[in-house]
Symmetry: C2
Subunit: 115 residues, 2 copies
DNA sequence: ATGGTATGAGTAGACAATCTACATATACAT
DNA sequence: ATGTATATGTAGATTGTCTACTCATACCAT
């Protein structure tokens, strides 16, 4: 999949992963990869800033912990985050229906200039 | 639908409309609106630059004409444009499957931290 | 005649999200 | 010692879309 394709939909994807329970950034990246069947290989430079943005927007809350000598920031969906996720799902549903409709080949639709 | 949602997918939408036959910018905007059931109300400032970009990329060819005293630039899909449209459809297909898969609620998926 | 709406094309500049590339650090296996 | 996996992050560039605007003609209603 070409990079940049997730633009505008990344937030929903992250929120959806977090719906299963709290996770730290690296685990989110892996979950995204797993759930997408390997199609989503998001660079850390994309995900970490997004997490901070979502935290700033209060859709996630993050807490530091140390596991095996390594620092982790674990993110949890807030109530607002759950609400936002529901909105994202609805938005995606509408959006994908629209794109499907427009992109669908012209079978049956009269071609321009045809009588 | 929130603005900016089409980001990354506009090219495909435009190419799909043009598959029916040549159209000028204004007609493309209207076709997008019609085909989407009114959901896509793209401003001219979004579509016209996109058309020029697609023409520069040789996916469209444009020609001027005057109809009823008004200048029109009519765009036609090039062979490369048809090819690009096919790619866009395949890309969209994959992308929407991926987003569906990730966004789908967790029914049946074990929650993190659960035994 | 005047004003409003539809048609038609376009530009300038702002904005925001993602990308590439880099920096840093620990644990563990070879 | 070297490399790989784990883990988080920043800086800067890119780029497509958005908002807001300009310009022009045709046509209809008042």
């Amino acid at each position: 999949m070409r990079p940049d394709a997730v633009r505008g939909h990344l937030d929903g994807l992250i929120l959806a992963v977090l719906e299963d329970g709290p996770r730290h950034g690296y685990a989110i990246i892996e979950a995204l990869q797993t759930r997408s069947g390997g199609a989503l290989e998001l660079p850390t430079g994309t995900v970490y800033p997004a997490l901070r943005r979502l935290e700033r927007a209060a859709l996630l809350s993050g807490t530091w912990s140390t596991v095996g000598g390594r620092e982790r920031r674990t993110y949890t969906l807030t109530r607002a985050g759950r609400h936002a996720l529901a909105n994202q799902r609805a938005d995606w549903s509408e959006f994908s229906a629209v794109v499907d409709a427009v992109l669908r080949p012209a079978a049956g639709r009269p071609a321009a200039g045809m009588p």
